[in-house]
Symmetry: C3
Subunit: 172 residues, 3 copies
């Protein structure tokens, strides 16, 4: 009987550890990009992980907002427009996530805000807010992002679809 | 002795599970309303749960911002003004909560922001921020909101009172 | 063998409890200061704890934004400029933190926002955003803040340095 109870407890503790570990990594994203820590940022993703940051009306022609793999993520942090945002004062704030773990994969739903310093008004402008879906995979080196997808909360259907899909499953 | 330790561990793990479960549900609120998922939103509440969303100077005459029960919550998501906010681009962001569990009830304190897209300035306006008290009840179907109360952080005493009461107890 | 497994579980549960306890205290900061609860605010810190809130261009001459010890923290909440912010409508929102525990000390990294009501535009202005490092110490009365340091995310190096140091260690 004790064996059964011990094994059950071990499984419950492991489930809690997964929740805390993933939440902790998600809280590392902002401080990593806002301190221009390219390696730490890339290390949040699996080696061949994807980041589809979404598109906005004002984006430079030819840019897609999609980053594939560690090198692309490192470059995202090390180049413009990101460098310009940080040099001008900005904050990438990820909201408290809703995490669902299923074995060795997990899905997290949250918001991400990009706030930028506006000297003229001595304040910050909330420049971007996106609906976020983060897909996680358990690796030898801990949980890593397999895919992160952002969709602008600008009234279009894509963000609602992302939220609905992430809330519904397949990982519940 | 092992029995005592096992039982103690089981209680501690259950307490952690309550914290994580409630935080996870609170992180589901925003994505549910912002994806116009009326059923998911209503399912966060107990069948006869209440949501007192607070009042603001600009509210339409006759409206109270109080929703009682699942049908009212579903309608809140399915009708204006909520539908208009979402179609125009918005985000309901609930901050990381302070949760206190006492047996089969719990109280959570946090902030809720409603940000709305402003095309003219290519950014978002932080339209509303409220002090929140969420009262939770443990049911057969998991934790459900018995009562959520928001009070505008507009300098008036009501928000301070809400925060002070929630920080003080009765559930600590 | 059961002894080994039990002891291992006890350590894992204690580690999770530390994470939840510190996150819960961090979520108490905003509601404490925004409800003018000077005692609750001071009680988050160790008796001789420090709060270096950072400096901003517009600060009154002679002020430093550094508070040392419980009396100074209590006074911070009970006097201007804080009282004026609260009376005019404000919110001190602390983001979901990345917490790292090492024995009886811990480091948490997060963002803090100070939003202030702007009646003219019927909305809130994000007035301040800082990079935060919270150093925690385990006491007889639970986890207490030994030192909290904020640095403005205004494009200057200090905030990036704070984030990089906190992400790197010594407590990882």
């Amino acid at each position: 009987m004790d064996e059964t109870r011990l094994a059950a407890l071990e499984a419950r503790v492991a489930a809690l550890e997964d929740q805390i570990a993933i939440a902790r990594l998600m809280a590392s994203y902002g401080p990593s990009v806002d301190s221009l820590s390219a390696d730490l940022t890339a290390a949040l993703w699996a080696d061949d992980g994807d980041y589809d940051a979404g598109t906005w009306p004002g984006m430079a022609a030819g840019t897609t907002g999609v980053f594939h793999g560690s090198d692309a993520l490192r470059e995202m942090v090390s180049t413009d427009p990101h460098q310009g945002f940080v040099r001008g004062g900005c904050a990438h704030v990820v909201s408290a996530p809703r995490i669902t773990v299923d074995g060795d994969t997990a899905v997290a739903v949250c918001y991400a805000q990009l706030l930028r310093r506006d000297e003229a008004t001595d304040s910050y402008r909330v420049w971007r807010i996106t609906a976020n879906r983060w897909e996680w995979t358990r690796t030898q080196a801990g949980w890593k992002v397999a895919n992160r997808t952002n969709r602008p909360l600008d009234g279009s259907e894509a963000a609602r679809e992302l939220f609905r899909d992430a809330l519904a499953g397949p990982v519940r």
